[in-house]
Symmetry: C2
Subunit: 242 residues, 2 copies
DNA sequence: CGATGAGTTGACGTTTGTCAAGGCCGGTGG
DNA sequence: CCACCGGCCTTGACAAACGTCAACTCATCG
């Protein structure tokens, strides 16, 4: 079981809490969600803002034939604006990957909070900018990247995000994901994810234990395969305090 | 040459103008950009907001080897928040596809405007939500869609966006794009774009003239190939007045 | 102890990219 | 006016990447 729970006083959550006392209230009154629960279905009516306090969520979309694509993983301190351009419905399925705690805030409340605290508004702006930058990087790799590129990038992206939540990058880190989930995130079949990860292990770039506890052995090589400059990526996708 | 210029009193631009007198000022003082001009380079320092008044822009990212992915087309009435999570640099290359007119607004001015006009803030929220919904749909198709699915979707997405700018869907519409650009948008090679579009033409789903003036003959078939319900897609990606 | 679900590996088929050649069109310079 | 050139589209032949199917292992759980 995944017990290395991230704490709400770190990463994006810390930025938010620093910016607004009211956010801290939300972290206390957040609702518990059990792993596997579907919180929102693509097409539902919903116009609120979702604040993740703890745990991993995924937003996804799928075709009618069942083919599913994970749009993003949503980690503690992230904010999900899932509502469509019509302002009434959502275009994403939101699911808890691990046990999680989320606050669901009506837009009117949210807007009032942003108006009341310019610091909070700036912090939220940074968090949204970071999410958008991540999405752009991923679009590039889904469109033009090979399987190794996509997987290396996913691993580095998630390890950076975990690091900003207080994990150490030198250590082995655990992703609460199956290979199928990684495939749904990278647009690959689970079989090909397996093959590609085995190859990275054989080349002494990664080490795995329990199939999905990952330790990066050769960060430079992995970054090159991912097609990134690690420091630049961190600037892009890690929201900094305003 | 592309002369069917969209006008700033339609679509998203109309929504914005209705919400704020100040926006109308920006549309008058916008700067002219010539087709082909690179406005921003991935990595530049830049923390302003770009408002498109007229013409087509593209935002893109690329690998060091030159492989390029168009992240989004930016049409009149769209707003580009290109700044990264660090609040200082941009993670996108912004280029004018056609002659264009854009306003570049400092974030402080922009924030002040949003604070001053709740209507504007709501309209901007809708426009951002629509852009995000479009991106999610495209992520799904880049990850799990076949070439025909991606191309059919791109055509329908763009035709919907043009329609909300006042074009008629029954008519032939012109995309100011080469097949290479469509490939960069859909993550395909230009050769495969060509093949796939020829096949759609042979099946009497599309008709083309001048290679890229498109008329949709069988909207139902195209929607099915794209994997969408046309009405639902319009709800998602067309910002409605708040 | 069987059942289930995840990972692993091999064989094979399909989709898509790459390379190459040719055609069409608009522009440019003699 | 014409020859030439460069882009872009088109098509075919071939190669590479990735998905699918199937079988096996292993750990977990009831």
């Amino acid at each position: 079981m995944w017990q290395d729970q991230t704490r709400c006083d770190q990463g994006g959550m810390a930025v938010l809490c620093a910016a607004s006392e009211q956010i801290r209230t939300f972290t206390r009154t957040a609702q518990q969600i059990r792993a596997g629960t579907v919180i929102l279905q693509d097409g539902d009516e919903f116009d609120k803002v979702v604040l993740v306090v703890d745990g991993w969520l995924s937003s996804s979309k799928s075709f009618e034939d069942g083919e599913l694509q994970i749009i993003d993983f949503i980690l503690p301190g992230d904010i999900l604006y899932a509502t469509n351009g019509d302002g009434m419905t959502v275009g994403l399925t939101l699911e808890a990957i691990t046990d999680a705690r989320v606050s669901i805030v009506p837009v009117s409340t949210w807007r009032t909070m942003l108006m009341a605290s310019p610091d909070l508004a700036r912090a939220v702006g940074r968090i949204r900018a970071a999410a958008q930058a991540r999405t752009s990087e991923r679009l590039l790799r889904l469109g033009k990247g090979s399987a190794p590129t996509r997987i290396a990038f996913a691993i580095l992206e998630l390890s950076l995000r975990l690091r900003s939540l207080g994990h150490d990058m030198e250590e082995t880190f655990h992703l609460p994901l199956t290979q199928k989930a990684i495939g749904d995130y990278t647009g690959l079949s689970s079989v090909h994810v397996c093959r590609t990860m085995r190859r990275l292990v054989r080349h002494n770039i990664l080490e795995t234990s329990d199939h999905i506890d990952i330790r990066i052995l050769d960060l430079a090589a992995l970054s090159e395969i991912a097609g990134i400059d690690l420091e630049r990526l961190e600037q892009e996708i890690a929201p900094t305090a305003a």
